[in-house]
Symmetry: C2
Subunit: 247 residues, 2 copies
Amino acid sequence: MSPQPLAPEFDQRLPRYHRVREALSAEIAARRWKPEEAIPSEAEIAETHQVSIGTVRKAIDSLVADGVLERFQGKGTFVRRPDFQSSFFRFFRFASAGGAARVPVSRILKREETTMTVVVAEALGLKAGAPAIRFSRLRLIEDRPLVLEDIWLPHDRFKALLTIDTREFGDLLYPLYEQYCGVMVASAQETLSAEAVSAKNARLLELEAGEPVIVIERVALSADRQPLEWRQSRGPASEFRYQVEIR
Amino acid sequence: MSPQPLAPEFDQRLPRYHRVREALSAEIAARRWKPEEAIPSEAEIAETHQVSIGTVRKAIDSLVADGVLERFQGKGTFVRRPDFQSSFFRFFRFASAGGAARVPVSRILKREETTMTVVVAEALGLKAGAPAIRFSRLRLIEDRPLVLEDIWLPHDRFKALLTIDTREFGDLLYPLYEQYCGVMVASAQETLSAEAVSAKNARLLELEAGEPVIVIERVALSADRQPLEWRQSRGPASEFRYQVEIR
DNA sequence: TAGTGGTCTAGACCACTCC
DNA sequence: GAGTGGTCTAGACCACTAA
């Protein structure tokens, strides 16, 4: 791959490795280098930006630490495709027989055109009442309902989704966003809490009324941290387990 | 502070910065440099270990990333005292009037000498039936019960705690461990889940029976990652909120 | 002003991958 | 063997802190 354009005018007071980082970051967000692709070699980037290789390494180091890039000795440095499957499995454990982690089966229960509520609009940086697309989705493992999702999208950016039969959506939404709406989810901010399940949700999740459920509220972001999707997921607390290291 | 002893014989195949990191780590675990103290300057460490300053910086970088050390330009590099208060407040939000985060008041409900259950013993790397000290503790904010804790300690290492009146324990346990047992908690592994509250716990937490509670299981570790304490905390799910960034 | 960490350079050699 | 990232060096100069 040929060298990227000269770095835009980032704040000159910032350290060089920081400016190089911003430049690389911008290229990735602009999809000049796509996920799974190698970026130019360290030597080439150093040449392009007129800095030493050590400085380039420091810039790349920080992008690797943030999970944006991946390095492989002898092969190159690659744009990392975020794997949200792992997020799902980090939170819910399954007493699945084989033990292998499989993508849960998804069933779209409802699709509607509506307007943003105050809460959703605020999370997405939009005005309440703005046009929206809303999905209700159930995810199952071995025919057992595991997670019930309430998904909200800005209408403009995602209207292409209204043209597809929901029975052909498949089990994952983010690949659809990419394919039909040209939108790539790069990261997400999640908030965990818990509540007693409502009567309606209990029926869908096949729980007793009042049983505890975990609530995960997610805002999915693009590479340049624009909010794309708001989603609230609920699953039985008995299936939930999350580990953290505290320092 | 004078230079530390020559690095022990770490695996010679490991990179130098890694060996330096291990050596520094060992000094900290051995409490040769205590929390809040400055470690020797980078130049001095480079001299001691016969490596270049760049290599020392790389070793220190990784300890800083892991939260073991803190750097201050112009001042030095310091051993970080882990602040578990922040862990507590990371999980529970309080509708406290002022908004200021305060240490919750602690009330020891029970102290007993007993033997390790299978679950606790396994988490602490001990044998089931080994002698143990067990505390039951309630933590309150503004006289409202917030967290109920079940705390298990190996008897040998912590028997000094049996000599103090529990009414004089104060609101934090880890300083006591340090003062009376010469044991310092450096990190912790926590697992979150949720359940419907039991009748007994509901009474203590002033909840309705069956309301959802968050369960946090913690194994506290020393700097060299020896398990020190096992603890299970329960609090009302309504007060609970935890944020994660997914990439 | 002396001592600290923060940035940056220009090179060297090694380990690994791929052709 | 050519090209990649991984480690390591020995300097330089800057920014900040404290006496």
